[in-house]
Chain length 340, copies 2
């Protein structure tokens, strides 16, 4: 476990400014290889682009994926006191036990994709402050959660997925998205895991009250994360930053993961260049957030579960892209006329 | 190898009318199980629907996928004499050698998905007749190709993908689609593996001439298949029918595979109930064809390669859906409150 090299927002921000970029030589080499493979130019569509992107971050023109890691972070939210979820807060801890016992969707999806799954529960017995009454977390609490995420990433991984569990966290993510990308509650709330029309109106109002109450803290992305986010979101932010420091590509999950990732997008230019969007979830505002992030999702299958589920599913797409890129014969090797 | 139980279009048609349906009891059982799994209702979106559909065809409420089969059929097309492809006809045989040597995209995608791949070349040295001059195949030739596909399906498989290779076959598939679903050349042609604007205009004209020249043969789906299709398409039609006879679900690939499958859709009501669309390809008219077929593709990643590539990629999606359905804990097993 790496000790996080930051103890404050200022130190974390300074670190973000120094994170590595993709290897331009590996990108160029992968583009050359791609053009020689036994298929018409561009015929593998998005798979070609994915493989070249992955090659750039791994620093080789012919990469492999052998050690994907799925990290699930769980946190509880004081804002559930406002009645924003169809499920009671106890479900967060129950689902953590389900993850540990292997019974959840993400367990099956991680195993199917050949990924190692690790689950981290962050102070479940100490929910964040209800953000309609003040900041959800202090800077120190938020920095600790960033550090938990940072330290959870294995330096042996070659691909990262971050997921979450936290009753109430679509409301928290909607508030964070509004603070980072603009707009109000109505623009960013959705049905989460099952609220009705009245619940939706309530969630929008709760978000707007949170934005108003915390206006003084929303000038920086990290300030917004502490004021409106949750520990599981801060941990995802930290993990995604750590992956960048290790040149490990990341597949982003749905609405809550993308809200956490958006902190990095707003903190530094190109802060998510090492990430792709695994899927567009059924949560209404996820597509809006992806547009702000400039990302095209790989999958759109109506998932709205969280847990990293959509991103874990997308590991198979990226894995297949890399398998084609690195395993196919060239025209010369196969003795096939290249049509050019 | 099963000997095909048909020697004429009439016998094949009679057989189609007797093919089995999904097991309603297994569908009901899978729906009950799905409602008890540790996730909010519907939160796995399309994955839930896929798993229940698969369960119905396999006749069990808790299925597994352990033996997917990918069948590639290759054929040559007399219509290449009209200059409709950017590649020379010799590439069909060269790519068959590439499949056999393991160098093509479909080799990597099949291996990635844990599928057995088999390649069947159908009389490559004897292209079909140029369909602008008369029927591409006689009934006997078409029945033989249907039988080749029928016999290639393993009765041990639990999932089937059919793919193809055949220089010129997007033109043939466009003509077949027009005959089966209506419209003319302009509605159905696309850029295939790389023709330019002039090539596109030529393809549309070639299709229209083929439709006019063969008008007398287009009254039945099988007549249209023989007049405008190719041996690899007829083999796919036969394989998809054989899968139905064995209650093996099928993932359809792109434009050419769907044209071949459309023969069954037009021949008998519900003829493709055992099939899902693996992807929407970049070939322009594929989305139009999927609409006629009433199918929503699982993936849309801009592939336009054929070979079964998009469908093989989608094996991973269906596999993940079934893994979730059959592997997850129920609320009762996990001790999680179900929010209901």
């Amino acid at each position: 476990m790496a000790t996080p090299p930051f103890n404050s927002f200022q130190e974390f921000s300074a670190l973000l400014a120094r994170l590595p970029s993709a290897d331009a030589g590996a990108v160029a080499g992968a583009e050359v290889r791609n053009a020689q493979l036994t298929k018409p130019a561009g015929a593998l569509g998005r798979l070609e682009e994915l493989a070249i992107w992955y090659a750039g971050w791994r620093g080789t023109d012919r990469p492999g994926i052998s050690a994907p890691q799925v990290l699930i972070f769980a946190g509880n939210h004081g804002v559930t006191a406002q009645g924003v979820s169809a499920f009671p807060g106890e479900v967060t801890a129950q689902m953590v036990m389900n993850f540990e016992a292997g019974g959840a969707a993400i367990n099956q999806l991680s195993a199917f994709a050949g990924a190692e799954l690790a689950v981290t529960a962050l102070d479940l017995d100490r929910p964040t402050v209800d953000f309609t009454t003040g900041p959800a977390m202090s800077e120190a609490e938020c920095v600790a959660a960033l550090g938990t995420g940072w330290s959870a990433v294995s330096d042996q991984a070659d691909l990262l997925v971050t997921g979450e569990m936290g009753i109430g966290n679509t409301t928290s993510a909607a508030a964070l998205a509004a603070a980072l990308w603009g707009g109000g509650g109505q623009d960013w709330v959705g049905r989460g895991t099952g609220v009705d029309d009245a619940g939706l109106t309530l969630k929008a109002d709760v978000v707007d009250r949170g934005l108003a109450c915390n206006a003084a803290h929303l000038q920086t992305p990290l300030g917004a994360l502490a004021a409106l986010g949750g520990r599981e979101m801060a941990a995802m932010t930290g993990a995604i930053a750590r992956a960048r420091s290790l040149s490990i590509p990341v597949i982003l999950d749905g609405f809550i993961c993308c809200a956490a990732a958006s902190v990095l997008a707003r903190a530094v230019p190109g802060g998510l260049d090492h990430c792709v969007a695994g899927h567009a979830s059924a949560e209404q505002a996820h597509q809006r957030m992806l547009s702000h992030m400039g990302m095209q999702p790989l999958l759109e299958l109506g998932l709205r579960l969280g847990e990293g589920s959509g991103a874990a599913l997308a590991i198979n797409i990226l894995g297949a892209a890399v398998a084609c890129h690195s395993g196919m014969a060239t025209f010369a090797e196969a003795g096939v006329a290249d049509g050019g």
